[in-house]
Symmetry: C2
Subunit: 216 residues, 2 copies
């Protein structure tokens, strides 16, 4: 299957147009067919030794979302205390999640024991199963963008809060809680870049040839 | 930027046609423009707090590749000893990397200290920086597929072997070593599925509604 230039450009459009959405979610529901396609995209991520360690918990229940939101609030208050001076004030004003506004939540997890203890490719690097589930997140995110759906990754929440809200067993590792929905707009740039929190790093500064280049 | 159905299909084509390539690399060089585009795709991955913690070491030097290959051989021999009976015999016959055949290697790393100790979104989950670099890997992999380039992730190698071959400083975490090149073909299915090592998991068995469903 060769890619045409048009097809290639569409893939780059998804990669460059993908955003972390927090504020622009619309309440309109996501058709089941669309949801199936983005979950299937996640399920076709690369996985170490083909272990497919992921599960997907699709959250529609407002009470469950409210419990997730409470977990966010706790972790967010703890986080604010870690920033100093002006940064703390700015941090407090940022809207960092759309848990209750987004019509869907999707929690992606990793089951390290799926298919037994020895996995091809995970022997030297046991974290490879977690990384497989992260690849599933990114597949889902890009597929969602191609479906004109926004996604926001809520990482300001403790594993225990997710486990408790979603009934996730102890041996399963939460990887991501995603807010998913149609949006009023996609920002042209990442919001943290737009407000000047951090600049886009110059790409030349992170590319090395053959060996790590010592910092100038 | 709305996606048309044609554009959406192109994104799914990349997601579903992406393979982990080990045996099919061709020696023809990758044009600089193409390499720039796939690295730029990786650089536009989501990152926690916009920290962009990744670096990319582009490997062309055959001696450096040889050292990576030796690191693989060591870890591969250790791994073989962990499989039992028939699985061990099968494991030994699998070709699991194309380090010296692929015209390019790309090592993707994570710098946990980039932009200082406190990062938005990494406060409750310190592993989020590693996950950002994994998202960069998946962006690169899909962009490569859209460029008709194959990618293989070599995870059977210890961090120390990568650090030593590539001069990676102690505080930087190696995330992935990728083999990249044009290919004679893309397999229709993952090779481990094709040979019956593991089946594709039924997607319904990994989707839950609102709460984790206890195993039947």
């Amino acid at each position: 299957m060769i890619f045409s230039e048009t097809e290639r450009n569409a893939v780059y459009k998804a990669i460059h147009g993908r955003r972390d959405v927090r504020s622009e979610f619309l309440p309109e529901p996501i058709p089941e067919k669309v949801l199936s396609r983005i979950l299937d995209a996640a399920h076709h991520a690369p996985s170490v030794g083909f272990m497919q360690p992921w599960d997907f918990i699709v959250v529609r229940d407002p009470e469950v979302k409210q419990r997730i939101k409470e977990g966010f609030i706790t972790a967010h208050q703890e986080a604010a205390a870690l920033f100093e001076g002006e940064k703390r004030e700015i941090y407090r004003t940022l809207k960092l999640e759309g848990i209750t506004e987004a019509p869907l939540g999707i929690c992606i997890t990793c089951d390290p024991s799926r298919h037994g203890p020895v996995v091809i490719g995970r022997t030297a690097n046991p974290e490879m199963d977690l990384y497989s589930s992260v690849c599933a997140v990114q597949n889902l995110w890009l597929a969602a963008r191609a479906e004109n759906l926004g996604v926001g990754w809520v990482s300001i929440i403790h594993h225990e809060a997710l486990r408790s809200a979603l009934g996730i067993p102890r041996q399963i590792v939460p990887i991501a809680y995603l807010c998913v929905g149609y949006v009023s707009q996609f920002h042209e740039k990442p919001e943290l870049e737009k407000i000047g929190w951090l600049p886009r790093v110059a790409i030349d500064s992170v590319i090395h040839q053959d060996r790590w280049r010592a910092a100038e």
